[in-house]
Symmetry: D2
């Protein structure tokens, strides 16, 4: 921490700041300049910068370390690879996860799973609990949805990622899923994050709609500090003044996160764009920018989807997208599953 004093701070004010910092258990290095005094502050503890900033004569307090540790590339220089069965997220291959917004019935789940597996998706996505912004909308199938998706994944030889929305659901969902998904609205539900830190399954952590990259990494830290090292970050669009797209898919977050953190990062162009015809360009952009994977909404019949139909791709669109991605990936030294995944055994 660096404390910058006002140009007109008095000696008494400076001494008071120093005394306060020492009282907090910090060491202070004072540097007196022509125009102002600057205090370098070091120590094991992290005093609240705001408290110091309020002291008389203080101009500004500058932080010189990130507030997160375990999520930082400084802490762990080589990239983390998260294993989901035999799928490696964060390795050379760009991993695509796909499926519907919500599980609606057996036929829809099976048809969609088969379609996305054939196109090259390695992990199936789908929701069972869907409390939505309006209390009057479809709210999901619950455990029945989990069961349908697990069966489809077993049949197709795919992994499953599904959202957990509350502490009370962890135990149930853990019985069915391979990866817990934490939605954007729960990115700072610290009660939930801390508990997920104690589970032994990977967590896909979506960025909050108004979360800075630093806050996102701090949320990852909550999970990591609980003992769960398998966190996958997921960019899904931020809220800005622009209303032409539902959210602004922040493609630049991908290289920024790869630089700051060792964790793998995937893009969610479906929620980023909010409409089907914008998903393919944003998916291509995410891979071109260096994403380790994608999570995409695909529905066997999006026109009749019970939720997010407008942003769900048709299976044929998804096929075309996968073909485009296979051309792009080598530009950044990556690959994408060249052939449809064969059915394999996959134990739950």
């Amino acid at each position: 921490m660096v404390v910058v004093m006002d140009e007109r701070a008095t000696e008494a004010q400076i001494e008071l700041v120093v005394a306060r910092l020492v009282e907090m258990g910090m060491d202070v290095h004072r540097s007196t300049g022509v125009t102002r005094t600057v205090l370098g502050v070091v120590g094991q503890r992290r005093p609240d910068p705001g408290l110091i900033e309020m002291l008389e004569g203080v101009h500004e307090v500058l932080r010189i370390s990130e507030p997160y540790k375990l999520a930082s590339r400084t802490f762990k220089p080589e990239g983390t690879i998260v294993n989901v069965g035999d799928v490696r997220i964060g390795g050379d291959e760009v991993i695509v996860m796909a499926g519907p917004c919500s599980a609606e019935n057996e036929k829809q789940v099976r048809a969609t799973a088969t379609a996305v597996r054939k196109a090259g998706a390695k992990i199936f996505r789908g929701g069972a609990f869907k409390p939505r912004s309006s209390p009057y909308s479809f709210q999901g199938l619950g455990e029945e949805g989990l069961r349908l998706m697990r069966d489809a994944c077993n049949a197709e030889g795919m992994g499953l990622v599904t959202e957990v929305m509350d502490l009370s659901q962890i135990e149930l969902i853990e019985r069915y899923t391979d990866v817990f998904q934490v939605g954007a609205r729960n990115m700072q539900n610290f009660t939930l994050l801390r508990e997920l830190g104690h589970t032994r399954k990977p967590v896909l952590l979506k960025r909050g709609i108004a979360a800075t990259i630093e806050e996102w990494l701090l949320s990852a830290e909550y999970i990591l500090s609980g003992g769960n090292a398998d966190v996958i970050l997921c960019e899904r669009g931020i809220r800005t003044f622009e209303t032409a797209t539902r959210n602004t898919f922040d493609v630049s977050a991908i290289p920024v996160v790869k630089k700051l953190s060792h964790l793998p990062v995937v893009g969610d162009p479906s929620h980023g764009a909010g409409r089907r015809d914008m998903v393919a360009p944003m998916a291509r952009a995410a891979v071109a920018a260096g994403a380790d994977g994608l999570i995409i909404e695909v529905h066997c019949d999006p026109d009749h989807a019970l939720s997010d139909g407008a942003q769900s791709m048709y299976p044929a669109q998804f096929d075309r997208l996968m073909a485009e991605l296979r051309i792009i990936a080598p530009a950044i030294g990556r690959s994408i599953c060249l052939e449809p995944v064969a059915r394999r055994g996959w134990g739950s």
Copy 2:
């Protein structure tokens, strides 16, 4: 809902859209103009506008009703008054709630409660559970904090507002508090909101840092639709590009909400500003703009607060602010408690 067709939409495309809407159970009124066709859509159900927008030949879909009902002033023209003991929020008097960020120990709770009560605050605020953005910070006293605050409120004759962060805490907190506070990060925790709709205590619902006013009212709707009519809205600052203040306290949200909804709205200038010296100007602005109340962080010794010290007012600052507010309130036909509240009995 109004569906605006492209200028070059074909007759076949128009008919397909009409057919799709009818299939969804809607009535369609078609209006053919010189440059384009517009479809007026009415009915009991609310089809997903995105689904229609994706159909060929559709230019845009315009919604003509708010998605919320019970929270709307159309539904209930006269303003709602929420009663907390004998304190009326939403009436002629501007109600001030004050207290520390978190309960730290008995002495701090008592000293602060006495100070704010003497200055004219009617409700005491304070937190017992404080999971913070970093997993390495002070996390609150838990139930012990609730007990300390309840005792102080009983002694001073004040009501208590404290935050509930998870479904699992409702029962415990309900035993101590008069008003549940839902924090900004939980504004769209629909699992929590739905459950609070089944309690019988008022809920102070903070606006999410990136929530539109419409989303905020939809969250209120979740609580109202569960049967709890006592929702108090609380503006606490939104995230914008400006970094000179921690958040941008959106004073204009106050008159906008008063126009759209019958629910009372209070301002939280402490979180809006993020630093003590900005709290008084923002508190005055909120009252001048028509707020029904304020919720303010005051600490008997902010320099040694365990959380939010930088934005907590000194008791003497708070006194001065209350005197200023007593001048401003009459400009908008309101009053503020003229004399210190006498100690009264207050049963929990």
Copy 3:
């Protein structure tokens, strides 16, 4: 400037950064800590922080001085008072400027000027050049508009503030106006600002719709550094994700600017709110937050205004607002013209 090195920066990298800074003419104080090295950098010049940040082994570069000088309260602790005739902006009295968006014809200009002068406004506002976001809208009366407004101001004994949009208009407008207004879109038109620095009339500088407070003060610096000390800052709303109001009127910018700068600051609630019924609450909030004045759109017949009719107040609404402001101003030790201004002589 403080250069924070990576925790794993090598000695060679550190030495290269020091060498580079010395080459730029700076003095460097090196402080080696347990986890990382920090370099304090001082000198007369201001090297580009980005260039240093790109060097190998550099973690971050922190600036420790504001990039503006003349606009800073550090440079000039006492508040600046800008004189417009015998009106003092920045003194004890809150100064209200009012008038239509654009001058439309003699009758409209005269009627509006008389109405606002009677209500207590001291300066008349109005536009003559109105290039608007659509090329198909009313574009203003040009010089004829200036003449009409000057005549009305002379008749009513008021000062005039009007917008200058381009370098080429300065000379013409200077012949008619008392205060140049620089619109939000021109806040960073440095060619224009530099030239206004060479005029001898005050400049009311609106904040750009996406300008940080620091950028706003840097734009003021452009004018001040040209030799013109009479700059009045004007907050008029920023662009955020919220669409319920046209802009988010950033009331908190007022106390922030008063702290950082000695320049007077006024609020423009008409553009901040974008609709007439939101102007009064935002005007009251601005004064309560400490604004030195207001600039408000009032039209003698807003229903038939050629521009900005929806946000222009009726004269009766403006009267009522002035009465409310007279109650609020004393709360912060200010006053507002108690009686209608008598007609006085006012030389152009």
Copy 4:
């Protein structure tokens, strides 16, 4: 335009709104529903929606046409190709423009031009007038800079794009440049745009830092409506709450603009990212998302650049990027100049 009345609007209020619209020269189609009345409004003129919205009993006014015409794909379905010499922007080939932020001296201009031409750039970019946010920074070489760049372009057989900042510079710059660049800060300088509409050279119009896509297209409309059909749109990043990157490069704007407008759109990842190491990922993302070209800052010696050094690429980095782009372009059916451009004659 569609006028939605309040659910509780009276018959008298509805009639008054109809009368007002008819007075404005519009035709009104009234549709009375169970809960509310909706008025469809058509006609040649475009009344101010705000004025109608302020009338008693009006709930909301919905616009059903874009406010721009000439820039719209509805108006001109096929994509526009802008010719710069024999370079076609908007065709099958992705066109890369590259060069330094500012022309500094002959050696720097020549060395950079040769380097970028060899790597495959077809147009040279560089600034001669650089008024910057601080009045204390390097301000450009002026006409001498234009001459140096013109000579280099003639020698290398490249076109030139350079920024025009003020009406008064158009004539001078037109003598040297092939394409006028309008910077983000001038996107709504309508005085300048209107005049550029009367020139006969293409205009590269950057998106303002806080401009919606609609406002950007309206600014293009200003140029098009003056008679100049050769407008190239340029996305360069928007301002959001995120501070990890200088701006948020809005990649999604590229497909949105391609859908709404026939004009070509290019990406400026240098300003979007603000730091050299983020330029390549963002450039790849822009091409993958469908951009018609790129404009990139490259400097023969970025460490000693007088402006924007931190975001200028080294020539070797730019070479590598071009190789990556050549892999990506075919994924979307485009190509990028495969071999270094041979020197050709290029008349100014």
